[in-house]
Symmetry: C3
Subunit: 147 residues, 3 copies
């Protein structure tokens, strides 16, 4: 059993939902050694988030952006936290509705994602800047696996 922990800084992206599976994979060059385990991906921010969703159609990602803007509108009369801009409080709410961290099984050296699953970075601010992730793998490389 071992723990591997590293950090990954993502370049600034425009507001919206972005597929980052390949970028996460490239940040884990020794994943192929892992026989069985879990990958934990954590975003150290409260106005951007993570989720797992459809990896093929860009329409899914733009429809997600449209729907979250509808469900969590800017400029609601009951928002008091407005000093950082109209996109700020909705960004916090969206971050809690979506995920601050993901845990993904690892099998035979690869993430055990379904055929259509990809990892999204959800940028909820108009100008969010770079985003920091902490990646943690807990795994076994040998025959400690019981099943």
């Amino acid at each position: 059993m071992m723990i591997r922990q590293s950090t990954l800084t993502l370049d600034a992206r425009p507001r919206g939902f972005h597929l980052i599976t390949a970028e996460i994979r490239r940040a884990l060059p020794d994943l192929s050694d892992v026989r069985a385990g879990l990958l934990h991906v954590f975003i150290q921010h409260t106005s951007a988030s993570l989720t797992i969703n459809e990896n093929a159609s860009p329409d899914v990602r733009s429809d997600m952006e449209d729907h979250f803007n509808e469900m969590v509108p800017e400029n609601q009369p009951y928002y008091d936290h407005t000093i950082e801009g109209s996109d700020d409080m909705p960004a916090h709410i969206k971050a809690s509705l979506l995920d601050t961290s993901l845990t993904i099984p690892i099998r035979h050296g690869e993430m055990a994602l379904g055929t259509w699953q990809g990892i999204y970075l959800n940028e909820h601010r108009d100008h969010g800047g770079r985003r920091s992730l902490v990646l943690t793998i807990k795994a076994t490389t040998v025959d400690e696996t019981a099943t």
Copy 2:
């Protein structure tokens, strides 16, 4: 310390929220060996999801279905991803609002769920078919536990 990993295929279920705690438990016959650890349940799909909620009243599960249909309606004018049917894009959004994976503590050979907690499979498609889960246990069977 050990890792046990297995897969579980759930039979097709109708659209809605379904209690699957007993089915998960039956898929883990050697859970009783575990002194302390965590169970990770991962669904390899983007239009069905998992959550933990009330395990007693079927009304909770049907009210969940009604409320998610209200919060994430079909046929919104801003949906572009419509080719797979009117239930498809809402299914993707619901999957991200709910959970792709659950992590549950294990204590003394059982899941440490609260009295009223159960594991739900949330089927968001009208005809979703069978659903694949990956189950991973990281645990200790002996006195490695520090607390």
Copy 3:
């Protein structure tokens, strides 16, 4: 590698979103021994929940309460599960929209939270009472860390 597991009972709090980072930290006195790992926090209830969000402005927490009340109103005509009061079914829905558990990286003896991140207890009932958490750490204290 080791697993440490303990329980923490939180005092009853009024309905709303409450910052509990310091209380969680105090419940983990030996966290400073941990070189690298993960902390899992699990709430054993279906009408209160956890999330990670902004740790500075109390306005964020009251705006969260206001927005979740708007998105998940009481007394919807389609609720059948009404016997435990008008705040009960919305509490279950909010618990599934937010989180039953959090997983947080540990680095160099501390939770690797971002500068603005804090842990929230979200009390969704008017009179929720005390709430039980299960805390699980999986970690290494020495040079087993590969990265």
